[in-house]
């Protein structure tokens, strides 16, 4: 492997096990719809949390409030001890520390793969261009798309694009990575190549919040499963407990549906 470190340098990383992301009593409405209801969730440094739940239960919204792509109506969210600031310079700085991977990849369509991975480093982190390119190339190699560096996103398969998107987020040395259904838009044969990259990240100790219905990933990589329904966190458990012995009826119902399809 290329030896690029993807987790924060030891001195400025929160010690493993310390609270990194804390949501307390978070509420959010879309008009009359109460999408997040009294959400309390604490994610420790190095922890991998899988969020699952039926469509419309608020998983994406939860994910997006963590880097304030969605604002909240009440409650508090803090990252590494700092509360989320208002829109502005400081928020931008904080977002740089939170990597995000979207269902639809969202690679910058007018830039090459390499430029996609260099952009944040140069414009946000003010990294020297040469260093940024070296790091971008190393990360692209790491996720297995090094040879595609000079292509445009539209020339890549979905699986390749999503791996580039992961590399783009990693290039910022994030403290935590958010994944919102990273494999849902992929053809089945491409799902594994993306999950493997995520598995490896998890093994290296990256703090991750992953919205996914990939049970295999949840079982093998997650420390904890959070089950959401109707804007509430209904159940939290280890993957083993949750999949073999769900406590709530909502979870039992949900699992019976997705496991028998």
């Amino acid at each position: 492997m290329s030896g690029v470190s993807v987790t924060k340098a030891a001195e400025d990383a929160a010690p493993a096990g310390a609270d990194l992301v804390v949501l307390s009593n978070v509420n959010k409405h879309f008009g009359a719809l109460h999408v997040l209801q009294d959400i309390d969730l604490t994610i420790a440094s190095g922890e991998v949390v899988v969020v699952i739940g039926p469509s419309g239960s608020g998983k994406s919204t939860l994910c997006r409030t963590i880097n304030r792509l969605e604002t909240i109506d009440s409650g508090a969210i803090s990252i590494d001890g700092k509360p989320l600031p208002q829109e502005g310079k400081e928020l931008a700085r904080l977002r740089a520390d939170v990597g995000m991977v979207f269902q639809s990849f969202n690679l910058f369509a007018h830039k090459t793969v390499l430029e996609n991975v260099m952009l944040g480093q140069i414009k946000v982190r003010r990294t020297d261009k040469k260093l940024a390119e070296e790091k971008a190339r190393a990360l692209l190699d790491r996720v297995g798309v090094g040879v595609q560096a000079d292509k445009y996103p539209a020339q890549l398969s979905g699986g390749q694009q999503q791996r580039v998107a992961i590399a783009r987020a990693l290039a910022m040395d994030p403290k935590v990575m958010l994944f919102d259904e990273p494999t849902s838009a992929l053809d089945p044969e491409m799902i594994n190549e993306v999950l493997e990259v995520m598995q490896q990240l998890a093994r290296e100790g990256m703090t991750m919040v992953v919205v996914t219905h990939e049970m295999g990933f949840a079982r093998s990589a997650a420390n904890r499963v959070v089950f959401m329904a109707d804007g509430k966190i209904v159940e939290e458990a280890t993957p083993d407990q949750f999949f073999s012995n769900p406590r709530s009826d909502r979870a039992k119902d949900f699992l019976s549906k997705i496991l028998h399809h």
């Binding site: 880097n67 792509l69 829109e87 310079k89 931008a92 700085r93 904080l94 977002r95 740089a96 520390d97 939170v98 990597g99 995000m100 979207f102 639809s104 969202n106 690679l107 910058f108 369509a109 007018h110 952009l119 944040g120 414009k123 946000v124 445009y152 539209a154 020339q155 998107a165 783009r168 987020a169 910022m172």
Partner: protein, 228 residues
Amino acid sequence: MEAREIVFDFLEGYDLLGAFWVTVKLTVYSALGSLIWGTLLAGMRVGPVPLMRGFGTAYVNVIRNIPLTVIIVFASLGLFQTLQVQLGGGGDFEVINFRLAVLGLSLYTAAFVCEALRSGINTVPAGQAEAARALGLSFTQVLRLIILPQAFRAVVNPLANVLIALTKNTTVAAAIGVVEAAYLMKDMIEAEAQLILISAVFAFGFICLTLPTGLLLGWVSKKVAVKR
């Protein structure tokens, strides 16, 4: 040789090329001015500051509904003759009127540039801006680095139409005494008995300016299109 001389001898003594050169200069300067101001206006219209959004919207709706002639004449009578705005022309009427015309054309055309660009911005998927914000880019960086470059590529053709309209609109500058093509044409029609031929020559001159513009930008449009 003979026939050509007889048919086109009415052109003698007129600086046809000089007049069209002024038309070209009016077009180029106004195109640059309106591109810059129009881009800023588009930025205001999609920005997060309500005051700026309001200003952008009001500007576009007011300016594009005023006849260009009124704007140009106002620039001359209002700005120059009443308020003594000379735009650094140093008392030289020719220079001052040329600059006022560029100003008026730029302010007017910017409204159309803004609207063309805004439609381009709407073609950029919301996910592009979200991904950029998630990286920690500021609003202006997102606009400058991600949204506008893609928006411009999407609206090369509409912008070409704006440019062609601008080229023809420069003729309005004749109203405040800028000696461009239309000014000369009026002069010549009054002095020579060749209405149809003179009109044809000037029409041909404008086509020589606008047709290549359209073709070139049509080609550019295909070349730079963003593949999704």
